[in-house]
């Protein structure tokens, strides 16, 4: 549905300094997919989204919506944002304060390229508003809505003209924590129920993991890994992704034993030699980073986790509600460990912990 090829955009922050915001980004979003651009602020995710919208002018590259090029440096095609028929939800919601709820939603139908006959407007607006459960508020002035209601109004306005594509720029970031949690689930259900293709931009990993069919993690203007939420979380192929999605202990190491065609490797790390799973083909002697999530470090030995046994001194333990966030010092380096909340180990005591080789991921540095 959406094809982005080799998209690049440079910002001239000052006359002499330029900043490559988007660096040859390519991705494809299939029909009906919710595709998420996830990354820290300044990684180029919003700029990429705005290029798809037509609100930014890329330096080079190509964007196709439903097979039609809307922006192409090859052919020089460029469709202005108002003609792209793409729905967009802005981070600030951008609810027009001088209009009622109804008028906000009717705007794209009245002034958009479709030019919907006024007889149909009433019905279509009401339908869109009832989908987001705002139909009872349609005559209210838009500024009189709560944050969550404004967010749903912005959504109704974005899909009322039944666009092929919906763009969502951090739509949940202005909501309070509780509401954000509810809306995460609701938003996905809503998008799925209308069957719309969506690109979603966020810096919150939990939102990305809950909402998406496919996640693309971005850093420094590039997509560093693309995959399903489960993939991204369980099989990061890149130290940045391993640390950005969830938490990871990252250990520098050297491959000391590897068999061709096999991903079982042994890596020399400051904690000793660990049995690891390589995420790519690695050779003997290759420098790698081993990622081990704190929640995958266990204190009870079982059949699977005895591959790696580590011993260290407990240097800190803080209670974080559902768990104990602990730090072990092993050979002068810190290993973060998540323990059961009921356990209250003594600071300074020696502990033995276990980690399965499945959870020690060796990736190219």
């Amino acid at each position: 549905m959406i094809d982005v090829k080799d998209l690049s955009l440079t910002y001239n922050s000052t006359a002499r300094q330029t900043h490559l915001a988007v660096d040859k980004v390519s991705f494809t979003v299939k029909k009906g997919q919710v595709y998420t651009l996830l990354g820290p602020s300044g990684c180029g995710k919003t700029t990429t989204l705005r290029c798809v919208a037509g609100l930014e002018k890329p330096d080079s590259g190509e964007i196709l919506v439903d097979g039609t090029p809307v922006s192409s440096s090859q052919t020089g095609n460029w469709v202005p944002p108002s003609q792209r028929a793409i729905g967009m939800v802005f981070q600030s919601y951008a609810i027009w304060p001088h209009m009622s709820v109804f008028e906000n939603v009717a705007f794209p139908l009245r002034y958009g390229p479709l030019k919907v006959p006024s007889a149909q407007i009433q019905a279509r607006v009401t339908k869109a508003l009832s989908l987001v459960q705002l139909d009872h508020l349609k005559d209210r002035p838009a500024p009189h809505l709560s944050g969550g209601q404004q967010q749903r109004l912005a959504l109704a306005r974005a899909f009322v003209m039944e666009p092929k594509v919906l763009l969502l720029d951090e739509p949940l970031s202005n909501l309070d924590a509780k509401l954000r949690e509810e809306m995460r689930v609701e938003l996905r259900q809503l998008i799925k129920s209308i069957g719309m293709t969506a690109i979603f931009v966020t810096h919150e990993q939990i939102e990305a993991l809950t909402l998406s069919d496919v996640i693309a993690v971005m850093n420094n203007g590039k997509i560093v890994q693309e995959g399903t939420p489960l993939d991204i979380y369980q099989r990061p192929t890149n130290p940045f992704v391993a640390n950005f999605i969830g938490q990871s202990n990252l250990l520098q190491g050297t491959v000391v034993s590897a068999a061709a065609g096999q991903h079982q490797v042994r890596v020399q790390t400051p904690f000793g030699t660990l049995a690891c799973q390589a995420t790519q083909d690695v050779e003997m002697g290759a420098k790698v980073v081993v990622s081990l999530r704190p929640e995958h470090v266990e204190t009870e030995k079982d059949a699977e986790n005895q591959a790696n046994v580590l011993q260290g001194t407990l240097v800190s333990a803080s209670f974080i509600g559902n768990a104990m966030d602990c730090a072990l010092r092993i050979n002068g380096q810190i290993l973060k460990v998540l323990l059961h909340a009921e356990r209250s180990p003594e600071i300074g005591s020696t502990m033995t912990v276990y980690a399965s080789d499945r959870h020690c991921l060796a990736m190219r540095a």
Binding site: G54, L55, G61, S73, S82, Q91, S92, F107, P108, Y111
Partner: protein, 584 residues
Amino acid sequence: MTIDAVPPRPMKISFLQRYDASALVMFGVVFALSLLIIAFPLIIFWLSFRVGLPIDPDATYSFVHYAKVFSDPFTFKVLLNTLGFALTTLVVSLAFGLPCAWLVERTNLPGKPVLYTLMTIGLLLPGFATAMGWLFLMHPRIGLVNAMLKSALGLEGPVFNITTVLGMGWVEGLSLAPVAFIMTAAVFRAMDPSLEESAEMSGASLGTIARRVTLPLAWPGILAAGIYIFTIGFAAFDVPAIIGWSNRIFTFSTYMVTQLSPDDGLPQYGPATALSAFVIILAAGLSWWYGRLQTRAHRYQVVTGKGYRPRLIDLGKYKLLAWSFIVGYFLLSKLIPLLIVIWASLLPYFQPPSTEAFALITLKHFNSLPWELVFEGLKNTTILVFLTPTVTLVCATAFSWVVLRSKLPGRSAFDFVAFLPHAIPNIVFGIGVLLFALYIMRGVAPIFGTIWILLIVFVVGRISYATRMTNSTMIQIHKDLEESAQMSGASTGTVIRRIIAPLLGPTFIYAWLWIALITFRELTLAVILTTRDNMTLPVVVWSLWVASGFGQAAALTLILLVLMIPIVCLYWWVARRMGFGASR
């Protein structure tokens, strides 16, 4: 590494791809008006070197006009008068405006909204009205104060003489004190009070704080206000015209008018343009300095934009003194001059109040007004009062959009152009428009002697103010509101009409009324460009005055003021509702 030699083809979006019809219309408007604004000073420079009549095809170019102007001792007398007049204006306006601003922003003075309202509305009283009042008060021969003092003290000569450079500066300063007030109040309001408080905690007395902390911090802002007032004083026409003209004390503006429409002979465009060119360069230098002061003011970080609730100084028993000062100012600048104008309009010839004088009271001047001319003037003024603010605000919106919202390369240059009419004395633009009409538009469109020429110069004269207003409001409109309309499929025209214009609405109404009021009383620009066929109401007042119909001029001034009342009330109501002016 594979060979990746072919660099990606850069994206080229043509102008027509990016901008739709309404955007192009706005570019057109902005470009055309900018061209005009630049053309007017340029035409002055051009003609200051040109020797020959407008229609003369083989004119030559030389410095003779400059030589003529600057070899004439009268020119230097005029410049010296203007300088003295502008400086007196500056001192007087700051002497009244600065204390009022300090009282409003830094003390617990009661009745602040009243002071704000009086100051804002006081700005609207035309200069020629108060000038008439002061002339009737302190004219060396017929002046009321002088006559009374002479008879009371048995003196020979007059005590006060308003027909001097100092006298005119006093009157102009009184009428510009609200400008000083509004500008310096903004400085005091934006100042971080913790700077004063920390000085107080160090044990400094109130006087020391004011001298060592408050004033030095406010200094760049005060100086900026000073330069602005000096520029207005330099180019002022009303007061020097009413008070100085008949006594042959000329300042820059009045001298220009005598050169352009002398009582005898042909207009002296050559010397007038040469002197104007000199003043443009002077004004450019002054605004460059002003700009530097502004940047310095920013560097001081006095303006923080944070919402402070400054601790106010308790005036205590001095409240009465403060209000006496304020009331004194309003008596001197507004009330007494106005009462005298009323008195003058009711007497067959001017004389001090007495039993005989009261017996003579008559409506003769009102009845004998040249009503046909008055109605003609009223008609023209009414048309201009509606068209000027409308056209100005439409143009200002286009300017703001181009400067703030379009991606046109070099767009900030348009903002600079829109600021030019603020920096260069208005009368120079008047002369530029006049010459533009005479030399360039002659064969194309005969706008000279129509109200369209007045509309052009009024719009140019107000575009700086209007763009400041639309800019500051448009900056506050979140860009997402426009972009979401774009994403909804709206064209640029629809975005302007349905999103920007409604959100700018309150600013539009406020600025519209203000420009309408300023247009209603505008004399300076009109006097240069009017002929018998496009007189405005203030010009009719002026022509009556020149023809020595002092009583009639006073009568028509009063009628003019009464006509202003409804718009002033509307303006006041809007300003209050919007929280402009009457702050806190």
